[in-house]
């Protein structure tokens, strides 16, 4: 593999981590969705590059799914849902932006340390990809736990799944089964979410998860 091919793959995977960081500090729903669309777009590019480098035409399909479905359809649909629900206000974070960013940096460092140490035998491309993918997954988790709004939790979850797709495409020659299934699960998940957002709204006039929290589970 030429070093240029490697550098471009590296650049794209790194940009995905960067986009994850950008999602971490967005404090408005529309902005968060736009960054998510960017995130998915970078993912599509990265997957397409992997398809080219690995000579694996089936990965182009995955790239296309990521571009059309994740970067266009879902953000647009969520935009419309937000508009209809009238919740395009600011997102409340559980902890401050500074702390969140620090935690994010810590998670990236952690995933680098873990993944680079255990994969010395894998080829360099897959290795870097896997480390970046784990960072994206962990940052997605962080977004989910630091947000109170149900929509932004969903966005966090979807960015997490983007990280999984990056990992799956980085693993050379992995059968298509997984890519399709990931896309498929996002689809189902999205339907579920769509239904739920409306139900939650119907019941509580809000999509703030803290509203739900008033019920601590146990009936009193």
């Amino acid at each position: 593999m030429s070093s240029l091919q490697f550098d471009i793959a590296h650049l794209l995977a790194g940009s995905l981590v960067l986009a994850s960081f950008m999602m971490l500090y967005q404090d408005r729903l529309y902005a968060l969705l736009n960054v998510y669309a960017l995130h998915a777009g970078v993912l599509a590019l990265s997957v397409a590059w992997q398809a080219y480098v690995q000579h694996a035409p089936h990965l182009y399909v995955t790239a296309l799914i990521a571009l059309v479905f994740k970067a266009i359809i879902i953000p647009v649909a969520l935009h419309r849902i937000i508009k209809r629900l009238g919740i395009h206000r600011e997102i409340e974070n559980v902890i401050g932006i500074g702390l969140t960013m620090m935690a994010g940096i810590g998670l990236v460092a952690l995933s680098m340390v873990v993944m680079l140490r255990v994969t010395p035998s894998a080829d360099a491309l897959a290795r870097e990809d896997l480390a970046f993918a784990l960072s994206v997954v962990l940052l997605g988790l962080l977004i989910m736990v630091t947000r109170r709004n149900a929509v932004s939790q969903v966005v966090g979850f979807m960015s997490l799944e983007n990280g999984l797709v990056l990992a799956a495409t980085g693993a050379k020659g992995m059968p298509l089964v997984v890519e399709i299934s990931v896309a498929f699960s996002v689809l189902i998940a999205f339907i579920v979410i769509g239904v739920f957002l409306f139900r939650i709204r119907e019941r509580f006039d809000s999509v703030d998860v803290q509203e739900l929290d008033r019920f601590r589970g146990e009936r009193r």
Binding site: A122, F184, V209, G217
Partner: protein, 479 residues
């Protein structure tokens, strides 16, 4: 490809799900649901007569045969219970016929997904099946559309998805570990190929992969630090779903974990998964046992009891060896039967009394003797009193541990005793207190509940030799 029993247990639920989604009329669909479950169960029994050949996608060995028969049997009895339960929900107006059509279709989809997870020979396919099972149960937990049900479903959805995402990352890492040895492409995900070559995999990569798999599938098993979704989902969904969740879905996730444990066992350089599983199992037992004392909701209380028992089962498999594995398998079977029987009883009790609050349910042995004594028998079984089946299996777990790690036995027994105290304390008032609430006789179907309890009782007194040799074979397979 001809249709053998293996594909039939997938096709029957899949096709019936499609049919049930279209058909109107809940009486008909409830019967059809039972018929489909019966057909699946009979097909699974035929696996004992003609052993289907494992292929690249589907797998058949002694391990998943046990799981399949248990799953299809409990899904059959639950569908019978569900028919009588649902009729009452329609009459009281908690569910509408449109929801029921959806409910029955989802029930069969769940059966399909669980069967697929059990027979899949491909770790990717297995993951997809577990994911589908999670999503269907999320939809069913939220079916009442109440405040609590939505919260439970949302929590379950978020935690379940995160768990399942971590499991996928683990699966990808397993493929990465396999690729240098078995080559690129499909082979790297076929379980039979993986286990054959696992000795040559990179141990460091396998270790990290197992950590992710344990966290991911462990969330679905309901192990202690990751259990938060479980009590809510069990308490707020329709009771047949609580029975299936507790009796079956937790087992399916455990099955996935056991498969990966078997793979790691082949590789001598990788970490032993045993101690990790033992630790998580013990934490679950102690934690759940302590949580039992202050529960106010009867379904929630039994949900915590499920965490406790999954802890015991994971502990047993973590200890490993023929005897502990045998005990774990037996305990899993007994727990599935008993816990679903308990949920059958609790479902009807909640319908009769119109509440799930323990404080408002009292004097059951006077008002509804059959349900009351049924539940009592179930609780006696679940806390592990002799002569019922769980006593047998818990005794085996404890005694097999005692020879190898006496200190762990102390912790385990402590947990079991605390749980016993908690459950009996709560249930005593429910059973023998002053009769409270409505006293209308229940229009319940008692057959599923007493069938399960009868089987548990029988297992406590006499285990058929066929079953014993079968379980012994599986225990050997698990290593």
């Amino acid at each position: 490809m001809s249709i053998d029993a293996l594909s039939a247990i997938l096709l029957i639920p899949a096709l019936s799900a499609a049919v049930l989604a279209i058909l109107p009329g809940y009486r008909l669909t409830a019967k059809l649901n039972v018929a489909a479950s019966l057909a699946t169960f009979l097909t699974s029994l035929s696996l004992f007569v003609v052993e289907p050949v494992s292929g690249q996608y589907l797998l058949m060995d002694d391990l998943n045969k046990v799981f399949i028969v248990l799953t299809t049997f409990v899904s059959l009895t639950t569908s019978v219970f569900s028919a009588s339960y649902i009729q009452h929900e329609i009459e009281t107006g908690r569910l509408t016929p449109a929801f029921l059509r959806f409910y029955h279709a989802m029930y069969q989809t769940l059966m399909f997904a669980m069967n697929l997870a059990l027979v899949a020979n491909n770790i990717g396919l297995m993951w997809v099946a577990v994911e589908v099972a999670t999503l269907t149960t999320v939809l069913m937990v939220g079916i009442y559309r109440t405040h609590e049900a939505l919260e439970a479903a949302w929590k379950y959805f978020i935690l379940g998805s995160v768990g399942i995402a971590l499991a996928l990352f683990g699966t990808i890492l397993v493929y990465m570990a396999a690729r240098p040895v078995v080559g690129e492409g499909l082979d790297g995900m076929v379980w039979t190929v993986l286990v054959k070559h696992a000795a040559k995999f990179d141990p460091a990569l396998l270790n990290v992969a197992f950590a992710f798999l344990l966290l991911g599938y462990g969330t679905k098993v309901g192990l202690a630090p990751l259990h938060a979704w479980l009590p809510d989902a069990h308490a707020e969904g329709p009771t047949p779903i609580s029975a299936v969740l507790s009796g079956l879905l937790l087992n399916v996730a455990l099955y996935a974990l056991l498969r990966f444990k078997m793979m790691l066992a082949v590789n001598s350089a990788a970490i032993a998964p045993g101690p990790l599983m033992v630790t998580m199992g013990l934490i679950s037992v102690i934690f759940a046992a302590l949580m039992l004392y202050r529960r106010r909701d009867i379904k929630r209380m039994f949900a915590y009891s499920s965490i406790e028992h999954m802890g015991i089962i994971v502990f047993a498999f973590g200890m490993g060896g023929p005897l502990a594995n045998f005990a774990g398998l037996l305990h899993m079977t007994m727990h599935s039967l008993t816990k679903s029987a308990i949920f059958f009883a609790v479902g009807h009790i909640a319908q009769v009394k119109g509440t799930q609050k323990i404080a408002d349910i009292s004097g059951l042995t006077v008002t509804n003797p059959a349900l009351g004594w049924g539940l009592m028998l179930g609780v006696i079984a679940i806390v592990g009193l002799p002569p019922l089946g769980i006593f047998m299996s818990e005794f085996l777990v404890v005694s097999s541990t005692f020879a190898r790690a006496p200190w762990l036995t102390v912790i385990l027994v402590l947990g079991i005793i605390i749980a016993l105290g908690g459950l009996l304390l709560r249930i005593g008032a429910v059973m023998f207190g002053e009769p409270k609430g409505r006293t209308a006789p229940a229009e319940a179907s008692y057959v599923p509940m007493f069938t399960h309890l009868g089987l548990v009782l029988m297992a406590g007194i006499y285990l058929p030799p066929v079953l014993v040799t079968g379980f012994q074979n599986v225990a050997k397979l698990l290593g």
